[in-house]
């Protein structure tokens, strides 16, 4: 919507075309038939030029202009049975808000979105829409291409950005104080949503955060070029305006035991949303060599500790030149693209299945490719090789082919014998997922966790754990998932907490 960096993007160019089209559309609007709507071309997302953006932290996707948003919104068929809503973990009234966008009623559109989703500016940017709402979109189905579905995520982002940039974000109303206290552990997507929903009911809410900055994975994990931190800041500001308290640099389970929050500090309910924990490694030889990093570490240094700002940051950044990233998810894409921006000469994604099995969001794969990240699919390292100083010099890589589907239905990678080769690298970033964080479970004996250390729920309807008054949600329950799923869990837990406190 806003013109950020028009010199290096196709924003103006696309907007001019859209402005021309939208005039035509406005005259036709009341008479548009389904056939006409299906004929409207999907609106491309204006983006920064790949060569330009690969050297800086600016947001890659610029966002729709008003004209583009109106045209895209007119592609929606307003289906009687909106399958898109079934695909959304928080069931946003998608046809409802899109209809408002099509008529230029953006304030009304954002109001509808916010009835169910609390972080639209964030979800519009980071949700895997092609696997959720847009997957079931009738337009995409009719045109036999999920990429031609109505761009629901982009429209969601447009509405949220419109509101933020216009400065009309409304602070949700807070009911009179109930005298009840709720502790929210972790300030990631699940925690922020719980805080907002519980605070609205008039309860006193304190968010505890281990780091010095709020936002959890949205701060330390997802890079600026994909999710500008000013957007996260805005969400925090709204919570502040609602009267939510924040306690940073405070680790429940260490700085204070969870039990003490209940027994000594008078909290009536606790929500645990501490997110993913210990990064997983491959378990291959050489993984502790200097130059092998968990993507978590690499991204935290770059994002939270601002290592990309070489002149100001005290946190050193490893001078990666030839980089291999292990894994094919969003974190792998983020790490690969960050490495490029920090000056790597070559970056390879190593993934043992094929391109179509990559778990990452399609747009991230596309952006990574445009920026020059090389995809080495059907490959997997068996060993990382070091030099005499204990530093990475190469990887021994095996080749794979796809075999029979596994229990999850994904084709199983089968190693091809006698085809391994040496790949010269100086940096290996491991992005194959996370285990669970042990800090709370270690010091809260009556909190039940599963074999993997994830917190087990006693009641999945309310996200209540085995411990009375203690709720949990997000990655600490689900294992590694997405922002929107964490948010969905948060909403359920908040409803559970509000119900408990109303009793």
């Amino acid at each position: 919507m806003s013109m950020h960096n028009t010199e290096h993007s196709n924003e103006i160019q696309l907007d001019e075309i859209a402005k021309h089209d939208v005039e035509q559309l406005k005259t036709l609007h009341p008479t548009l038939k389904m056939k006409d709507r299906l004929a409207i071309p999907p609106q491309a997302m204006p983006e920064l030029d790949p060569k330009y953006r690969a050297t800086n932290m600016e947001e890659v996707a610029c966002g729709y202009s008003e004209a583009e948003a109106i045209i895209e919104a007119n592609r929606c068929l307003d289906c009687k049975k909106p399958f898109c809503m079934d695909g959304c973990p928080v069931r946003i009234n998608i046809p409802g808000f899109i209809k408002e966008v099509a008529q230029g009623n953006y304030d009304q559109a954002i109001h509808i979105i916010k009835e169910t989703s609390l972080l639209p500016a964030i979800c519009g940017r980071v949700c895997p829409q092609e696997r959720q709402c847009q997957k079931s979109c009738t337009v995409g189905k009719t045109l036999k291409d999920v990429n031609k579905a109505v761009a629901i995520g982009r429209l969601e982002r447009f509405c949220a950005d419109y509101e933020r940039e216009k400065g009309t974000i409304k602070v949700p109303a807070v009911k009179p104080a109930t005298g009840k206290k709720v502790a929210v552990i972790g300030s990631g997507p699940a925690g922020l949503v719980v805080a907002a929903d519980v605070r609205r009911e008039g309860h006193d809410v304190t968010i505890f955060e281990a780091f010095h900055k709020l936002g959890g994975v949205m701060r330390y994990g997802i890079p600026e070029f994909r999710l500008p931190k000013e957007i996260v800041d805005q969400e925090i500001k709204t919570l502040e305006a609602m009267g939510v308290h924040f306690k940073t640099d405070f680790i429940i389970g260490k700085s204070r035991k969870l039990q003490d929050l209940i027994d000594k500090d008078g909290f009536d309910a606790v929500f645990i949303g501490v997110g993913a924990g210990l990064p997983l490694f491959m378990g291959i030889e050489g993984e502790n060599l200097v130059g092998v990093f968990a993507a978590n570490e690499y991204l935290t240094r770059a994002n939270l500790m601002r290592a990309y700002d070489l002149n100001n940051a005290h946190t050193p950044s490893w001078p990666a030149k030839k980089v291999a990233v292990l894994g094919g998810g969003n974190v792998a894409m983020d790490a690969a693209r960050m490495a490029l921006r920090l000056g790597a000469e070559s970056v390879k994604i190593i993934y043992r299945r094929g391109m179509s099995e990559l778990p990452a969001r399609a747009e991230e794969v596309h952006h990574a490719q445009e920026e020059g990240v090389e995809f080495c699919v059907l490959q997997n390292p068996s060993k990382i090789l070091g030099d005499e100083k204990g530093r990475v010099r190469a990887m021994l890589v095996d080749r794979y082919e796809l075999g029979e589907p596994d229990e999850k239905g994904r084709p199983r990678p089968v190693k091809l014998e006698g085809q391994s080769f040496e790949m010269e690298v100086d940096t290996v970033l491991v992005a194959i997922g996370n285990g669970s964080n042990p800090l709370i479970s270690q010091t809260t004996p009556d909190l039940r966790v599963n074999r993997k250390g994830n917190i087990e729920l006693d009641n999945p309807e309310t996200n209540l754990t085995s411990k009375a008054h203690v709720f949990a949600g997000g990655d600490i329950v689900l294992g590694a998932a997405t922002v929107i799923l964490a948010m969905g869990e948060g909403r359920r837990a908040a409803a559970g907490i509000n119900k408990l406190l109303a009793e």
Binding site: F250, A276, L278, N312, N437
Partner: protein
């Protein structure tokens, strides 16, 4: 944010600060550490082991050697100044029980984290021997405090003989292992190279040996994986599984390589900092 309540220079580049942190003072146990940051926006995060705590004052004591960027900046802060980020206590506390004869070996600033551990071991009914080592006399501190804990032997060594015995800490350690009063447990805290050789010294005598690792860390809660070490062929995270490990099982060469990850980069950083400081000074004149 934590206010510095007291500051004292212990030797050429070793400093003691007492910091207001009532929650940490209340929760901390011997062997645990904190993470601090000297600048909210751009600071790096470094771990420091807690040397002491005073629940009445609501303070913890930290002792550090000004060697890296952050510790140098920290040494420039004075009483009344704030440390923008201080979080803890982190890591597993030392397992304290009655072992019998325990030998505490500390090198350099390692005496600071050793102090509360030696104290707790003594309180648990152990007979405690102390070996304190440093390169030279100027780098020793808290000899009196440590001597007060020692039941049996109290041995000081320096590399140049300027105080105590002219020896490395491993010499008296070996003698104790060979003596009739063989230790039931050895704890070694100090530079990696010292801990490595303490572990090598006790290994042939089958004396259980704990070491406290001071690896590079970012979050200190297990999220980043930066502090991982090979212990007995398994990957462990010093921040949540440690910082104490069986010294006989630690892969010391890998540990020392990993500790050096950013050494060259930091050297450049420091050179730049000094250059900028000199330039500023020149401007001032």
């Amino acid at each position: 944010m934590a206010k510095i309540l007291f500051k004292q220079q212990l030797s050429a580049d070793v400093f003691l600060i007492r910091v207001h942190a009532p929650h940490i003072a209340e929760e901390r146990l011997a062997g645990q550490f904190i993470i601090l940051q000297i600048d909210l926006e751009f600071g790096e995060r470094i771990p420091l082991t807690i040397a002491d705590a005073d629940t009445q004052e609501g303070s913890i004591t930290l002792i550090f050697q000004a060697v890296g960027r952050t510790t140098r900046l920290l040494s420039h802060l004075e009483t009344g100044d704030d440390i923008p980020v201080l979080v803890g206590p982190l890591g597993k506390p030392t397992h304290i029980e009655k072992y019998g004869h325990v030998v505490c070996v500390s090198g350099g600033v390692g005496t600071a984290p050793m102090h509360p551990i030696a104290q707790a071991l003594k309180k648990a009914g152990n007979r405690v021997s102390i070996i304190m080592g440093a390169r030279h006399k100027e780098l020793l501190f808290w000899e009196d405090k440590m001597q007060a804990i020692a039941d049996e032997n109290f041995i000081i060594t320096t590399d140049d003989g300027s105080a105590g015995r002219k020896a490395l800490v491993t010499e008296p350690l070996k003698e104790l292992c060979e003596s009739a009063d063989k230790p039931d447990l050895v704890i070694a805290i100090g530079p990696s190279i010292m801990m490595k050789f303490c572990a090598k010294t006790t290994e042939p005598f089958h004396v259980p040996t704990l070491v406290s690792l001071n690896t590079i860390m970012v979050d200190g809660t297990g999220m980043c994986g930066c502090c991982r070490v090979n212990v007995g062929g398994k990957v462990k995270f010093a921040c949540v599984d440690g910082p104490e490990f069986d010294g006989h099982l630690v892969d010391w060469d890998n540990l020392m390589h990993r500790m050096s990850t950013y050494r060259e980069i930091e050297k450049d950083h420091l050179c730049n900092m000094e250059r900028m400081a000199l330039e500023k000074e020149a401007e001032g004149k």
